[in-house]
């Protein structure tokens, strides 16, 4: 027979767990209910295909494309920076570096992840942009390039540590077989180990992308706040997240269409990150099955 006290405690603990489910439900409910009001006024086709986003001006246009292109551009630059560096670091740490070196380098890389994002924004604006301007003509003081590169540096630890775990999980027999065939460490690493760990590395890249899409402060500070339908990294752009910050800083009346735009932007962002996260879960599961 269970004591009543025990049962009560279990129920209380389960309730705390349920709070997290409630949080998810609340997020979805808030995004859907508030953006509903937006989509009643603005036709979905305008939202998806109009090429201008000017809800804060007198002449209002509600095309999400400029915000999407800004988000895409900064994310692409970040990924192009972080993926090669992150994977090489992961291979180096897992296959080449000795135990002591790895023990010293890993915490140092983790520091990169502990720095608040607003600090990276300061860095992009005051150090990286002036540096890039010395050899890239026509680079504005707000630009997608600098924000993207700094965001890439920020997500290096995400990619390197998850990739390293994936490389580490590759069975030793594969390495030994490759060495036995006379392959060098480099050949073994890139022709055997990396392909064998490819789904785990994919997971790290996808999570890196999700992180870059949702990143706010770096782009709000260094990429400018002008919706700009362009793929030129030298220009100022505005991402979905930066737009939400921009509106939040101003005096926007509650319940107005401007107010609702941030929820429409938010739900767009949420859909992207939700899909990417679940793609990574799916890949992770598939890959675990393969090795166990």
């Amino acid at each position: 027979m269970k004591r009543t006290g025990e049962v009560v405690i279990e129920k209380i603990l389960a309730l705390s767990g349920l709070i997290t489910v409630l949080t998810t439900a609340a997020i979805i409910w808030v995004l859907v209910s508030e953006s509903w009001g937006f989509f009643v006024t603005v036709p979905l086709s305008d939202f998806l295909f109009d090429t201008e986003w000017t809800p804060l001006f007198a002449q209002k246009r509600y095309g999400i494309l400029p915000l999407l292109s800004g988000t895409f551009l900064t994310t692409a630059i970040a990924i192009l920076t972080a993926v090669p560096l992150g994977i090489i670091i992961a291979v180096y740490l897992s296959e080449y570096a000795n135990h002591d070196l790895r023990k010293a380098l890993k915490p140092a890389l983790e520091v990169l992840a502990a720095v608040p994002t607003v600090v990276y924004g300061f860095f992009a604006l005051t150090v990286v942009t002036p540096f890039l301007q010395t050899f890239i003509p026509g680079l504005g003081s707000f630009n997608a390039l600098s924000a993207g590169i700094v965001m890439g540096i920020m997500i290096i630890p995400v990619i390197s540590s998850l990739s390293e775990d994936a490389l580490y999980a590759v069975p030793k027999s594969l390495r030994e077989a490759s060495y036995g065939m006379g392959a060098t460490k480099f050949q073994t690493s890139f022709k055997v180990i990396v392909p064998a760990a490819s789904s785990g590395i994919m997971v790290s890249v996808i999570l890196g992308i999700a992180r870059a899409i949702g990143e706010t402060m770096v782009v709000a500070i260094a990429a400018g706040q002008q919706p700009n339908l362009t793929l030129d990294p030298r220009e100022a752009v505005e991402t979905i997240t930066a737009y939400i910050v921009q509106v939040s800083l101003g005096d926007v009346e509650h319940g107005s269409i401007e107010y609702k735009t941030i929820f429409a932007a938010g739900i767009t962002l949420f859909v992207f990150t939700f899909l990417l996260n679940n793609l990574s879960f799916w890949l992770k599961q598939k890959y675990q099955e393969k090795y166990e």
Binding site: A14, V115, V119, F122, A210, T216
Partner: protein, 285 residues
């Protein structure tokens, strides 16, 4: 023969590429910290810490910002720690196989990937509007508590998982109930790991900017918050505000405030790492 030599050359060359890439991140970090120290360290004095914000850069201080950060840190801890640890205990010790636990688990994995600014939209609608708390410390703390909840839950579970089953069985064998076992045996044994996770989660909360901007935390607050219902600002928002201004003097202020913010986050991370190492050394199951 030639091909073999080439392959060996590539192999030893890659060693340096690897060092260079790993070094790149660390060197960039070093440049960056050096730059900030150079720009900001001279600006930090007693007045900077105790002055209210001002439109004139040389008179502006971070009193409201750091007190706001301290408030947010305390309130977020009070809300998030009991909830997160309880949920972690439930998932690890009670709900191993039931469906509710499975749903909660999947859900936590998803929540951990939701961008922080979305939590800001959640807080804006639920705490600021519906509960009518306005842009108060309480609304900010609840928003950040929900944001760091997944981190605390996962850390709690990891710490509980590391406690060997023999401890549980010994306790049950002595006639202890499940909760007595958890409260008197498992939790004390896992406390180091749980504490580490909590501190890391809180240091994340200290650095968050975007969700607090969305719920309406202000950049200019001319008074020190006295109750949880007061409006507030925090260090990251103060930094953002100063970075956004064109005058050089405000950038110096921003660098100085960044030094304070980084000192707080690094100290918290340092304590967490220290606790983790001590805990790992002490426990020899």
């Amino acid at each position: 023969m030639n091909k073999i030599r080439r392959n060996r050359l590539i192999d030893s060359a890659f060693k340096y590429v690897g060092v260079a890439c790993t070094g790149f991140g660390i060197i960039v970090l070093a440049i960056f910290l050096g730059d900030i120290l150079l720009k900001g360290i001279a600006r930090i004095d007693w007045d900077f810490l105790t002055n209210l914000p001002s439109r004139r850069a040389h008179r502006a201080g971070i009193l409201t910002a750091w007190t706001g950060t301290a408030w947010i840190l305390g309130l977020t801890a009070i809300i998030a720690i009991p909830l997160g640890v309880s949920a972690g205990i439930y998932l690890q010790e009670y709900g191993k196989k039931n469906r509710l636990a499975h749903i909660i688990e999947l859900n936590i994995a998803n929540l951990a990937g939701v961008p922080s600014i979305i939590y800001g939209l959640l807080g804006l609608q639920i705490f600021v509007r519906m509960l009518d708390w306005g842009g108060s410390l309480l609304a900010g703390a609840f928003t950040l508590a929900l944001l760091i909840l997944p981190i605390i839950i996962v850390a709690t579970r990891e710490a509980l998982k590391a406690v060997p089953n023999s401890l549980r069985e010994a306790s049950f064998g002595m006639g202890a109930t499940k909760w007595q076992t958890i409260w008197y045996q498992i939790l004390p044994a896992a406390s180091g790991g749980i504490l580490t996770g909590i501190i890391l989660a809180l240091s994340r909360a200290v650095g968050e900017t975007a969700p607090l901007i969305v719920i309406g935390a202000l950049a200019y607050v001319p008074f020190v918050a006295e109750t949880p219902m007061d409006e507030f600002t925090v260090l990251p928002i103060q930094i953002f505000n100063w970075v956004s201004r064109p005058q050089e003097a405000f950038l110096v202020n921003a660098a100085a405030a960044i030094i304070i913010l980084l000192a707080i986050t690094f100290v918290m991370n340092g304590i967490a790492v220290y606790l983790r190492n001590r805990w790992q050394k002490k426990v020899t199951w």
